[in-house]
Subunit: 197 residues, 2 copies
Amino acid sequence: MTERAERAKAGPRQASAIFAATLDLLVEQGYEGLAMESIASRSGVNKTTIYRWWPSKDAVLAAALVKSDLLAFAMPDTGSLRGDLLALMREITQLLTGANTAPIVATVLAAAPRRPELAAVAHTFFVERLTREQPMFERAIGRGELPLSVDPAMIMDLLAGAIWFRILLRNEPLTPDYLNGAVDLVLQGTAGRIPRE
Amino acid sequence: MTERAERAKAGPRQASAIFAATLDLLVEQGYEGLAMESIASRSGVNKTTIYRWWPSKDAVLAAALVKSDLLAFAMPDTGSLRGDLLALMREITQLLTGANTAPIVATVLAAAPRRPELAAVAHTFFVERLTREQPMFERAIGRGELPLSVDPAMIMDLLAGAIWFRILLRNEPLTPDYLNGAVDLVLQGTAGRIPRE
């Protein structure tokens, strides 16, 4: 059975309690302190039950990062690619700066460089994100706003990368003007022929 | 006296020994393990001498990150903005993946989210980088390759952000084709009028 199918078996109320417990414990105790034992006792769900759905703490953590209500957000559908990208950029900014979410990001980032398991979790997280973003790009192609030749992953790398870079590395403010300018620049870059030297 | 002026007083050989010791100790022992005492004994430079040039371990670390030979690279001057940006992107990729430099980046990133002092160090590092990149953009404006209205920091956020995002978060490979495509997209985005809805 695939991981996705197993996950689907978890009752929604139990899954949501497990995810909340996992993210709370992650922030309180760091990645090292996170254990199936404590996830079970914090969530009130039997440890063997949790193991039936997810084989390891990394699997629970990956599921929590992808599925938790706290980190969830509706994919925008504003009627234009520009509107959708701006909405997405605002959501990412909120994720990286919000009082409830910034500590989760900080803890994952702090642990990731030395933990190959967490790098795999991050990889899964972003693969799922890109899958969810796909319809947004398909609508844009359908409306003639985006050439088929442009890789959606590159658009997201550039825009999300700029936000992560600016907030977490440069420590510079992210104004609405900046977001508008970045989205406009990238959209302009996807339009028409790309010149070669 | 400014920090820059004080730093200029350090003999180049001593400074280089101090920077190497600082980065070695950072990777071996993490940010918490880094101390003026151990920097002094590893570099063979008297602790009070080090304190005369830099008032804290954060100041030494900031200087080491900006000035160390290990992390230094010549700003490219290839004759075109496209060539310069590509060279810079390759250098950043090397920095994030090289056997000697990736552990430094990983250690700083791991410690930064919970250490405001390190966030300040990162801020200083990127301000200095942007200052060094400025002539590259001025030459491009002089050659008519870049409108005056484009913010160089935004170009660097988009391109460097995409690389950081892809290597450190997405864990996806960075091919020469990808780098070419990203630089072309951003350059195309800076050309001409930016459309508004």
